[in-house]
Amino acid sequence: MDNSSLAAIWLTCKLATLVTVLLLLIGAPIAWWLANTHSRLKGAVGAVVSLPLVLPPTVLGFYLLLVFGPHGFIGKAMDAMELQRLPFTFAGLVVASILYSLPFVVQPIQNAFEAIGKRPLEVAASLRATPWDAFFSVAVPLARPGFATAAILGFAHTVGEFGVVLMMGGNIPGKTQVLSVKIYDYVENGDYAQAHWLAGGMVLFSFIVLLLLYSRRQRSSWSR
């Protein structure tokens, strides 16, 4: 395996870890709101969050490029604030990955919050816990299996993305060239041996992640 492969692996791990942490922080309140709201917006917000599940990644990448590009409204705003525009940067990859993997994190957490139901929070309130206190001392600990599933799925899905990163990040070695893009690169250049290393590694990684996930599920269904 050559150095550029290692650089791609390292970049991918860095990206997936950062995205997972940010996703848990962003996803938990969205999941909480979706699980508890009676708002008419619930359906719309749920649908928007789930859009990346059905959209081709290229569609998402295309609009991200437009919005964050020099003529997009966020791109212009960032220019005005003298910030670097996001396309073809690592930060751009992070933003794109967060949007792309959001449903994989929000849904397991939302399911976990819904499974807890209202009762434990009512009990917490009757024991003088403020709503914030009850969220952190009761809802989050009880939803822990949901958070674990969300983290695993969010990480794995970020590692596995291709279309969005290619459109938003391009293919800059060491900066935006992640594993999946690197494999594409090798195949294009006919370097199948290098492609095998990375592709085979991805198969193994994905298998282990799913194995972890499914054996965890089985364990928790036994203990009930």
Binding site: R119, P120, V123, A124, A125, S126, L127, R128, A129
Partner: protein, 355 residues
């Protein structure tokens, strides 16, 4: 305490106005779907009534006219639900401390006494899913009380338990009745639990208060309707006077005495017993030639139709200002004996349920 709530649900209106004593157990009794649990949830602030008012010992928790509504976590109350509601991620001790810390009782005032009162000391290190249903409810009651509430709300705490577990936990609840000096609201649809535990009864039917008053007086009313239809009867508070040589125990109460089969309670202790209206028959004079032991002189106070067809419910005033008794007799007997208010009769009690 004073509580008024009104909620309009589609197809159901809850409209209650309750004035309840500041001490003792008040049973909110009624059939399922009558709204009694909703009343409790309104008191806890978990349900938002329109035009609600709630004050306890002069402290107003809710007064919608003045825009006052304390959220649940600011109301000093204890709440125990029907099903086990312990936090599964905390041990028994962790559950107890959860409320103590947040209610400003981190020092654990009353902790040891509470463990003994509810018999849960040995359970402290255990996880909730390693407890029996009865143990879980005892822990939940202790957890609620350790927050030093000004009001304890119990929502059918025994309903999810089988007969044996109920018998296990009832003595603890009776002990609480003696210990607590805060009002306790006990939602129940079990006449037995109400008869055994309550001091005060509020009957809820179709979202309204059908009757409210001291337990014994209220149970002796003739207009309680179908709630107690099969179970009309009164509760007497008696004192165990003596255990006699032939195995019977003599119970005394103001205005009379009862002989019941012997039991474990020591002479001098208090014992509640329940006399079903269907177990009381009437005679015009006392005759010795009957196998029925308990014959109490009484005066007919009122007569009404019983829910059962062809039957009448007779309210009896026992002698010497004693308590009221109910008797259910057939309409035919009522005519034959010319039972009417003012008539002196002898109430023959066929059986007495000890509570």
């Amino acid at each position: 305490m004073e509580a008024r709530f009104r909620i309009d649900y589609p197809g159901f209106i809850l409209d209650v106005d309750l004035r309840l004593p500041e001490k003792g157990i008040t049973a909110l009794f009624g059939p399922s779907g009558s709204g009694k649990t909703t009343v409790l949830r309104c008191m806890a602030g978990l349900e938002r009534a329109t035009g609600g008012f709630l004050s306890i010992e002069g402290q107003v928790w809710q007064d919608d006219e003045r825009g006052i509504f304390l959220p649940t976590h600011e109301r000093p109350l204890g709440l125990v639900f029907q099903e086990a509601s312990l936090f599964p991620h905390l041990s028994v001790r962790g559950n107890l401390e959860y409320g103590m810390k947040r209610a400003g009782n981190a020092g654990g005032e009353g902790f040891d006494a509470m463990l003994d009162l509810l018999g849960i000391r040995a359970l402290l290190p255990r996880a909730p899913d390693r407890l029996s249903g009865g143990e879980r409810q005892r822990v939940a009651i202790a957890r609620a009380l350790l927050t030093r509430p000004r009001l304890l709300l119990l929502d059918e705490p025994l309903a999810a338990l089988d007969m044996k577990k109920k018998q296990e936990i009832l003595p603890y609840l009776e002990a609480l009745r003696e210990e607590l000096d805060i009002p306790v609201l006990y939602v129940s649809h079990s006449p037995d639990e109400v008869a055994r535990l309550a001091d005060h009864l509020a009957l809820i039917e179709n979202g309204r208060v059908a009757a409210s008053g001291p337990l014994m007086e209220t149970l002796a009313r003739l207009d309680l309707g179908p709630a107690f239809a099969d179970d009309a009867g009164v509760v007497l508070e008696t004192t165990v006077a003596a255990h006699e040589a032939d195995g019977l125990a003599r119970l005394e109460f103001p205005g009379g005495r009862l002989y019941v089969p012997g039991h474990g309670k020591a002479p001098g202790s208090r014992l509640r017993c329940r006399i079903h209206a269907s177990d009381v028959s009437l005679a015009l004079n006392a005759h010795g030639d009957t196998s029925i032991l308990n014959a109490l002189p009484a005066t007919v106070a009122a007569v009404a139709d019983a829910v059962a067809p062809g039957h009448a419910l007779v309210q009896l005033q026992l002698a010497d200002g004693g308590p009221l008794l109910l008797a259910r007799i057939t309409e035919r007997s009522r005519r034959a004996l010319a039972i009417a208010p003012g008539l002196a009769v002898v109430a023959q009690v066929k059986s007495v349920a000890l509570l």
